[in-house]
Symmetry: C2
Subunit: 296 residues, 2 copies
Amino acid sequence: MVTIAYLGPPGTYTEAAALAYPDWLPPSARQQVPCLYPYPSIAQSLKAVAGGQVDFAVVPVENLVEGSVTVTLDTLWQLDTLQIRQALILPVSHALISEAKSLDSIQTVYSHPQALGQCQKWLEQFLPLVQLVPTNSTTEALQSLEGDPAIAAIASERAARLYNLPVLVCPIQDYLENCTRFWILSKSASPEATERSPRQNQAVKPALGTYTSLAFSVPANKPGALVQPLQVFAKRQINLSRIESRPSKRSLGDYVFFIDLEVSLADLSLQSALAELGTYTEILKIFGSYTVLENS
Amino acid sequence: MVTIAYLGPPGTYTEAAALAYPDWLPPSARQQVPCLYPYPSIAQSLKAVAGGQVDFAVVPVENLVEGSVTVTLDTLWQLDTLQIRQALILPVSHALISEAKSLDSIQTVYSHPQALGQCQKWLEQFLPLVQLVPTNSTTEALQSLEGDPAIAAIASERAARLYNLPVLVCPIQDYLENCTRFWILSKSASPEATERSPRQNQAVKPALGTYTSLAFSVPANKPGALVQPLQVFAKRQINLSRIESRPSKRSLGDYVFFIDLEVSLADLSLQSALAELGTYTEILKIFGSYTVLENS
């Protein structure tokens, strides 16, 4: 049986990403029902796949509003290189969940800091005086309700159904187009991953092209140290769709760079770029090529 | 009287940064005792200076372990351009504060997510079974103690003294060299800021040089769109000490880039670089030049 680690408890957006897409699995595994294992943190779900306790981990990478999920990037850099098998962009719609009959009685709102951030303007407009309390996951926020009409939580409508709790207002995120990108990772690369088409599925649009992700550190305090690696790609007309810097944790001002490229590892121009890139970088980790699916 | 906004309540690391350094103030204001105003969020303290309610705001920008304080960058991009008057690097040492006589009785630990993240390995080693509860600030975590030996909070030793609470273990951060960089900002630039030397003070090392910070967006989906702006600086031997990407919140994959340069706006090479930079960027915001002080 195929096993998948995710940030639990059940009801999180990461579980929704893991559940919705049999297309994430390699063709050989699609006939099997995957078994989902909740983990208390993103780092622990990644360590579970690196340590061989599960076959795959599904993790959030980036939200439209809040940006990178830094614990995902930092943990990937620390572990032996995992391979990205697929990316998925999932719409994220937040609901205000409460036993309250109206907004007037609500004094406290619980949710994950990312969800509170994604609903910030709505909260300022409709609940300007409430106390906002961060939790470890949106599902955990639901455990704080306890039937009290002075308390509300922000989570998905799916989570409200799962725990049989009433939705007071939905959607409440500031950007209606709010979405999060997820990766599914395993210990080994999938040779067919960059070639196969996703299975036909009404909920899934055609793949948005093939990407390759990598991360590297550069020698510290060298003028232009970052420009040289970027030129390697620019002069070959390889587009960077994303660059993110994270602290190396060695000294302030020393970074690791994460880059997404709009090209496959099967492409000769990327192979030549990577050969040159190695001469400018200190440590280079290549997380593989994958296609991106988008929920409609 | 000079007024300074900061993330409160009193006892936070941001308040320590605001309190410790009369050198942050322009020379004309150094004889005055500054009046510190706590704000419930970083965004609100920045809006207070943009709206003219206070003269300055002190905000955290970047931590050695946890990286960028994204709300600081996102709010700066949204507001009319504020000017950075000074940067300060402050050591951040965390204490476990509790009425408990030993670690054995502790079941729950409260703190700001950044502080929990900075003590993650220590917590895994010495308190592997406790529940971690995030709060809006380290000072707020102290309000959860209520004399209960089953509860602990992570905050500074200074905060423990301020609220007359016992320190059980200190330091507990994973990296002993842990530090955070802060900016002090105002609506107008300080013409003398880049020239004056910091006042002699045993706690402050000599300034670490002059920096200029800016942010820009580039046209979306254009190969090499980020490389051109970076080449502007590289070909003039201007060193980038930092690059950070943040979502523009328009669509996934559309970013704003924040850059710190090791050069002053008074430098002719930077002036020529900025003139060329404008041809490659969509929106360009220049946050001014400033020196960096480091606490010893």
